[in-house]
């Protein structure tokens, strides 16, 4: 029988939420403000220009993409920073010593990452409500893509934190893997604007489907059919969870 520790799982989930709320200026306000600054810069740089092929102004086009980018980056940051800080400070042993199964640990970490991502996106969108005409055309699609993206990125953050030996390792993954992939996921442009070769390259970026699907939920338009991409997204979620579970179960880079 698989032992279950619901109180332990809940406690770990709460601890992770309390942890990022303790430094909310850094974990909530700053990411939301950064996304708003991007939006202002593009607003003034692009003016009233329309996105080619999509018949929508850049400002409205950018808002859901930036919200998704903030969600993905913050989900990643939440798990990776918690894990590496735990390792550096020696606190990770309390997770290893606790009677928690691998799936309980993974669930608590990913759920907290989703909460942080949702909070950041909510703050960002709430500030922008007076300035942009956004409607929730497909709330189910928004939820599906938003939560899936957060789980995938939270999972990648967890794996990165387990792999890393110090903060520099995590910064390396953040700056050389996560940032480029999120920036090149169609947040700032429609792939239809790109040369055909780059359109093909973009189809191999999993974050592209997340951003595009999330945007479709708000605007009802995008570069791909979000309903056709659901299998890719859900497949990525399952693979991420299984990878996290397997690595934690085997104590990868956590136990000697």
């Amino acid at each position: 029988m698989i032992p279950i520790n619901p109180r332990g799982t809940w406690t770990l989930f709460l601890r992770e939420i309390r942890r990022f709320l303790k430094v909310k200026m850094q974990t909530i306000i700053t990411p939301a403000l950064t996304a708003i600054l991007y939006l202002m810069i593009f607003r003034y740089a692009m003016g009233e220009r329309q996105v080619p092929g999509l018949e929508i102004d850049y400002f409205t086009f950018l808002v859901p993409g930036l919200a998704m980018m903030a969600m993905m980056q913050n989900a990643f940051a939440n798990t990776s920073s918690s894990m590496i800080m735990g390792k550096v400070m020696g606190m990770h042993i309390y997770l290893l010593m606790a009677p928690l199964s691998a799936i309980e640990v993974v669930f608590a970490f990913l759920a907290a990452a989703v909460v942080r991502a949702v909070v950041v996106a909510t703050v960002f969108l709430t500030v922008l409500i007076p300035f942009v005409d956004l409607s929730l055309l497909h709330p189910g699609v928004i939820l599906l893509y938003g939560i899936s993206g957060s789980i995938i990125m939270g999972g990648l953050g967890l794996i990165s934190g387990m792999w890393a030996k110090d903060f520099d390792n995590v910064a390396m993954i953040t700056n050389f893997v996560i940032m480029p992939l999120t920036f090149l996921s169609g947040v700032f442009y429609s792939v239809k604007q790109l040369p055909e070769i780059w359109q093909q390259v973009n189809t191999f970026n999993p974050f592209f489907y997340l951003t595009d699907g999330f945007r479709f939920g708000f605007l009802g338009l995008g570069d791909t059919d979000p309903f056709a991409s659901i299998s890719i997204v859900l497949g990525s979620v399952i693979i991420t969870i299984l990878a996290c579970w397997s690595l934690w179960y085997n104590g990868w880079r956590m136990k000697e």
Partner: protein, 312 residues
């Protein structure tokens, strides 16, 4: 039932270093057990295997009759470990840390017990500070509180008093003794051997990954520890061949102030004190002063580990 049974435990790290070799050890339930050894002997590796932070390469362990490796969650709930390295969560206060630790072990935080832990470990006035504001000694005491907060039946203390001042150490041991009197099994590693001798009723000595001995403290001291008769002649005693032959039973050694004779036991269990004293007086006359000194755990420990080191 034993609190802990270890059979054939081995650990070789990826770099090829063998930290534990075929260790067999039994910790009786309710005992206050000292696990001693020099630095790098394998004590912490053994504790880390029990705590599930290090994977063993051989052997099996049972805790209160349940297999540790197959029944992890059950065993972990009954075990509290104070790690050797100070670890602290810089985001929270000690009270929050204890609430979280309690929850992680599946227990509803017991505020009365948390208050008592703070009081006994003298952390009450620091319970609402951030852990970053605590001194090293306070952080170590917080680790002890974390190990106890879920009321484990086996408490493992890996050098819990390093950096803790004498007075607080004394109070910590009083607290541990109280817990032990209530039936909690305590496994302790420490370099303060006098404290281990005073506190523990069982002892195991490990060196270079090998278990050298494991037995009740009293039995070890009776069987291994020796007593010496010191005779003060206020001047060095020169032992000639005849003296050495006459006192050979007592392994005589001359010292700057006189003579030292090793005491043994007669068939009836009594000490050879009188025989040794009279033999010395017969050869050198009455001393100006005399006394008996028994080896303590530190002497026994040094003798056993030195012997093992020489063999290795």
């Amino acid at each position: 039932m034993h609190a802990l049974e270890i059979h054939g435990l081995g650990k070789t790290y990826n770099n090829g270093k063998t930290a534990l070799q075929d260790v067999n050890l039994t910790v009786p339930q309710g005992s206050f057990f000292a696990l001693l050894g020099p630095n790098g002997a394998g004590k912490s590796t053994m504790i880390n295997v029990l705590a599930d932070t290090v994977r063993p390469t051989a052997g099996n362990v049972s805790l209160f009759g349940r297999d540790l490796f197959n029944d992890r969650a059950w065993c972990k709930k009954r075990m509290g470990v104070v790690p050797q390295e100070i670890a602290f969560d810089p985001f929270f206060t000690p009270r929050e840390v204890l609430r979280f630790t309690s929850g992680l072990f599946g227990c509803k935080p017991d505020e009365a017990w948390i208050d008592e832990l703070f009081e006994r470990l003298e952390l009450t006035e620091h319970s609402k500070k951030n852990t970053r504001q605590l001194s090293g000694g306070m952080r170590r005491r917080l680790l002890v509180a974390q190990a106890l907060v879920h009321r484990p039946e086996l408490v493992i203390l890996d050098e819990p008093t390093a950096g803790v001042d004498v007075e607080l150490r004394r109070r910590l041991w009083d607290f541990m003794r109280e817990l032990n009197n209530k039936g909690i099994t305590i496994l302790l590693t420490t370099h303060y051997l006098d404290e281990a001798e005073e506190l523990c009723d069982q002892v195991a000595i490990i060196d270079q990954g090998n278990l050298l001995t494991a037995q009740p403290m009293q039995q070890l001291m009776q069987s291994v520890a020796s007593s010496y008769l010191w005779l003060n002649y206020a001047k060095p005693v020169t032992l000639n061949e005849t003296d050495k032959l006459a006192l050979a039973t007592y392994e005589p050694r001359s010292s700057e102030e006189g003579l030292c004779l090793k005491l043994g036991r007669l068939d009836d269990g009594n000490s050879t004190f009188h025989q040794a004293y009279e033999a010395a007086v017969a050869r050198f006359g009455p001393p100006v002063d005399a006394g008996v000194r028994s080896e303590d755990l530190e002497d026994v420990f040094l003798r056993l580990t030195a012997r093992h080191g020489a063999k290795a």
